[in-house]
Subunit: 356 residues, 2 copies
């Protein structure tokens, strides 16, 4: 059977003050649609796997938020990480858990905080991907047609074609500099690494055994643990000992059965205010209004975000972020947004954790 694992334990400061330690980005209703990014992710995969086949891996701290936002997900499908250990341990555990339920399981693993505008294409891509990995011992990642020389993404170099959309992976490159990214784009050979993966549960676990033995050993529980009442205790004891490592670094960059399915999904990782600005509708002054009322004069290229019942009156800002949420207000040039992480740290140090 086909399963979906949604990773929703991440915490990020790039959308501060909207994202907070106690309510990270995936739990926010980013577009004022009434649905959080996590809820939209579940909505998006439902035509492929029904609710009982969707598993959420999150940090214990976010259990209440997950329950509240996704009341229809069965309780047993929520896997609570006792510690933050990046994606590899999370994926390894989920594969063990699902394999214990279904030895023939195949799994699509999804981030919970990305944007996908072309849903039908998404469904086609995921279905085709499942078919591909179910036919053999293959690890598949979804590669997205790049639309700009983005320096914040990982790039996948395409190798030999298997069919029209699926190719062997030649190499992975993390966040290139701008010049390199431009070269990547010009060759047509490089696609963005989406962080969406498809494989059989037994395939990925085999890869862990071979390429990440330290993690694999940790999660190789005695028979009968996974899926039993004792799984939780086992995980609480072992998970914190896992190395903090990404699935790309632990497996994808090392294994030789790695393939990429190319796709054009209207995708953004929404990893920054600039990314949000790029994908949002703009008024004639190129301003983006995010879910609030704005009266602006002599402003351009800016993004304004606040609560839906708040008004922002603003004059004379060019290329700014104005983000007002709860006990914090950010007014910052869009071009300097990479500094926000440091600013948030400074806020925490000088004014206290209640602000972050």
């Amino acid at each position: 059977m086909r399963y979906c694992v949604i990773m929703c334990g991440g915490v990020g400061s790039r959308f501060w003050p909207f994202s907070r330690t106690d309510k990270p980005k995936q739990f926010l209703d980013f577009f004022g649609s009434g649905r959080s990014l996590l809820q939209l992710t579940v909505d998006r995969i439902l035509p492929i796997t029904d609710m009982s086949h969707i598993f959420l891996v999150t940090n214990s701290a976010y259990y209440d938020l997950v329950r509240q936002q996704l009341p229809d997900i069965p309780e047993r499908n929520i896997l609570l990480e006792p510690a933050r250990r990046n994606t590899a341990p999370c994926i390894c555990w989920a594969a063990h858990h699902i394999l214990a339920l279904d030895p023939d399981a195949s799994i699509v693993t999804l981030p919970s905080d990305h944007l996908v505008l072309r849903e039908t294409e998404f469904h086609n891509v995921i279905r085709k991907g499942f078919e591909f990995v179910e036919a053999g011992d293959r690890l598949l990642t979804i590669g997205l047609k790049p639309t700009s020389p983005h320096t914040g993404y990982g790039y996948i170099q395409l190798g030999q074609n298997v069919n029209d959309d699926i190719l062997k992976v030649k190499s992975f490159t993390e966040k290139p500099d701008l010049e390199m990214a431009k070269v990547f784009l010009s060759t047509g050979e490089f696609f963005w690494n989406s962080g969406m993966f498809i494989w059989r549960a037994d395939s990925i676990l085999k890869a862990f055994d071979r390429f990440a033995p330290e993690t694999a050993t940790l999660f190789n529980a005695p028979p009968g643990i996974y899926g039993s009442d004792r799984e939780r205790d086992f995980i609480d004891a072992e998970f914190p000992n896992a190395p903090s490592i990404s699935i790309d670094y632990a497996i994808m960059e090392k294994a030789d059965n790695v393939f990429v399915e190319t796709a054009d999904l209207g995708w953004s990782d929404l990893g920054s205010w600039n990314a949000l600005y790029d994908v949002s509708p703009k008024n004639p002054d190129r301003n983006v209004t995010q879910n609030c009322n704005v009266l602006s004069h002599n402003c351009s290229g800016s993004i304004f975000a606040s609560a839906p019942d708040k008004i922002i009156v603003v004059s004379g800002l060019e290329d700014y972020i104005v983000a007002d949420s709860g006990n914090a207000l950010l007014i910052y040039p869009l071009k300097d947004e990479q500094k926000i992480r440091n600013v948030v740290n400074e806020v925490s140090t000088r004014f206290g954790e209640k602000y972050i």
Copy 2:
């Protein structure tokens, strides 16, 4: 006996979004001192007149706010205007009311929303003023030594000396242009009109009879009305018929027994964000932080205001107002602050009265 009348019925939009229609400037704790401007005004006059001799004239809409902020003011000392009619009707009514209680009353009339930094000097000035008006039929206004060619204030031209500080008034000039204001300053003959007045109750009423007969007639109640249970009904019926006119225009500019007491009180009418900026302590970047936490980079000459428990993180603003209060956020160049009134009207029209 000596009485104080504090006028606290005004509504202003210049400190929007801090001042709101339902909570104008005089009710705000402007300096984070824990006391509103109105409370500070009462605190300031208490060494001169005790609580039972302080009368508050305000609009009916603000009764609850006044009660809440000044629980020690006797209920009978709150005079509720049934309509907004500028200062002359307000002052005429208060004089009648107090004269009925005390035929020998002298009154200092004060705005409720100004700043006075030199309190001891204020007390000296008011005491000396009382002595002056109690010795004869004289109308006295407090004139403040100007510190800049401000174009938003009224100016009083000094005439002949009565004593060191008190002089005959030669003329009044409302809001001169900048060139004129500079001339005024250079002559040393012109002082700012503070809106603080001292007179005997019978003196000001005599002046009303002579120079503002329309208003005077309206408030000339049959004997026994003022101070009785029937006063409220009388006022509710007559007050709305009064012309809306300032005391300066109705009386001070016309009467010939008008004197000015010159003073240097560390005064500001706090009539604008610029005025507030001018009187507030500044950090090395010339920024003013109003009662909130601010983390600023590359900002100068700006004023930042929010709730005490909120943080503002801001970068790259020069000479800006950032004012965040309740359901509204204002980000506006200080130099354009005279446009705020229009902006507030536009907010009201386009987004609704709940924002103003």
